[in-house]
């Protein structure tokens, strides 16, 4: 039951008609911002995130430079018009935490030691929010990094999983997010089977956690196939 008492799953279907383990319609584009070294746009249903990558470039102020390796800087931001109740522009605490968490989701995939003293700056802008914004942003940022020619061990792919009305689901929409018993974001390097981001809040049993991990892994791989497709087609 949602907070409003509304049933979130009726006859095995979610409020938007999806099956529990069904992803929303996903669209991906690469190279949408020509002033950036790399850029991408990813849509999961109505959630739209843009990512741009600048660099590697010289890092100022100099005292921030690491002489042995480059750094990754990341900024996650939600546009004021992206949500129902206008969000004041500028970073709030959630954006500060998500900026950190997204950076740590992408960093393991980069060869930062190839760029001492330099920085790679990744910007994620959510221009329309309908749940699962951080994973949409990570998928976009990963495409933008590859598009920019940044050396990477693997792409980074992310998806959200959770539990609603007692059922395990994939790719939570905004309304589902607000009414879920659990909401979990997972990012991984898809060909290495390594997890780079894991955040969960809600109430689940140990067994449900294992099942959700499995669901996340399977669906990240589906998203990866789409990332592969858009990169190959762009340059094909």
């Amino acid at each position: 039951m949602g907070k409003t008492g509304e049933k979130m799953i009726v006859n095995g279907k979610r409020i938007d008609g999806r099956k529990p383990e069904e992803l929303r319609k996903i669209e991906m584009k690469v190279g949408i911002i020509n002033r950036a070294n790399g850029s991408a746009e990813v849509k999961f249903g109505n959630t739209v995130a843009l990512a741009s990558v600048h660099g590697p470039r010289e890092l100022f102020p100099r005292w921030m430079q690491e002489s042995q390796s480059g750094i990754l800087r990341c900024r996650y931001n939600m546009a004021p018009f992206s949500v129902d109740d206008r969000k004041s522009p500028g970073p709030d605490r959630r954006s500060v935490e998500l900026s950190k968490v997204i950076r740590l989701a992408l960093e393991p995939a980069l060869f930062l030691e190839d760029f001492p003293k330099a920085t790679i700056d990744a910007f994620v802008e959510v221009i329309q929010a309908d749940g699962s914004t951080r994973v949409t942003g990570i998928n976009a940022a990963s495409l933008a990094l590859a598009h920019a020619g940044i050396p990477m061990k693997d792409l980074v792919t992310a998806c959200s999983v959770g539990k609603i009305d007692g059922t395990l689901i994939v790719d939570l929409s905004g309304k589902e997010d607000n009414n879920s018993e659990c909401d979990m974001a997972v990012a991984m390097m898809p060909t290495k089977d390594k997890v780079t981001l894991l955040q969960m809040d809600g109430v689940i049993t140990r067994e449900e956690f294992s099942k959700l991990l499995k669901l996340a892994k399977e669906n990240c791989k589906k998203v990866y196939e789409l990332q592969k497709k858009v990169l190959k087609e762009k340059f094909g």
Partner: protein, 224 residues
């Protein structure tokens, strides 16, 4: 959009498996874990008996020892110049590597040799592990480039712009009557009346470098 009858080489993604190492040299666009070799950048795989590599489709220039590059003087110092080499790392051109004669730096202002915004064709003579770079003008062919304009292209496309045994760049030079220098750092210097045509050709090669049938297209473009 895929254009008709243009064969395309398959692009590799970072993390894609290229094959077993088998003692081969691993290029800068690939990495290995044990015996398994993977793509490191988004680009065209180049795998043969000798080498396993991926040529990046985009990306900035990282300086390498021996590269012949085009550089722009950024600042005049006491015993040399800082130069912009189109990289997150700038480089230093020491006086001794640039000028043959003896120069008394306490008396002379070395800007009479090279001043800010001057363009030079030079060679990377040193790169340390943390990317401190030195360039030199000692090699034959290194010189100051007068006049002309510089355009930036993706560094990994320079070989295609040069062509097999220089065939492509020679074609452009002769058809447009321009002087052209290509730097491995992705900078191309062009001087001449028809430079617009030359630039258009070069940018087309950059954009369509991975497509077959490009040479014919460029010939046609320049033929008019």
């Amino acid at each position: 959009m895929m254009e008709k009858n243009k064969e395309v080489r398959e692009v590799a993604l970072p993390g894609e498996f290229l094959g077993e190492k088998k003692g081969r040299k691993i290029g800068r666009g690939a990495y290995f874990e044990g015996e398994k070799v993977f793509a490191k950048v988004l680009g065209i795989p180049r795998v043969n008996e000798m080498e396993m590599n991926v040529i990046p489709l985009s990306g900035i220039y990282l300086p390498n020892f021996g590269d012949k590059i085009i550089a722009v003087i950024q600042s005049v110092e006491l015993s040399g110049w800082f130069v912009d080499i189109n990289s997150p790392y700038n480089a230093f051109l020491p006086l001794a590597e640039a000028v043959e004669e003896y120069v008394d730096t306490s008396r002379s202002d070395i800007s009479r040799y090279f001043d800010v915004d001057d363009i030079v064709f030079c060679r990377i003579s040193r790169v340390t592990k943390n990317k401190t770079v030195q360039v030199s003008m000692r090699d034959i062919g290194c010189r100051k480039l007068y006049g002309g304009v510089i355009i930036k292209v993706t560094p990994s496309k320079i070989p295609r712009i040069i062509g097999k045994a220089g065939s492509m760049i020679t074609l452009i030079k002769s058809k447009t009557n321009c002087d052209i220098y290509t730097g491995q750092n992705g900078l191309v210097w062009i001087r001449g009346e028809n430079k617009a045509k030359a630039i258009e050709a070069i940018l087309t090669i950059e954009k369509e470098s991975h497509m077959v049938g490009l040479t014919e297209k460029i010939e046609k473009m320049l033929g008019e």
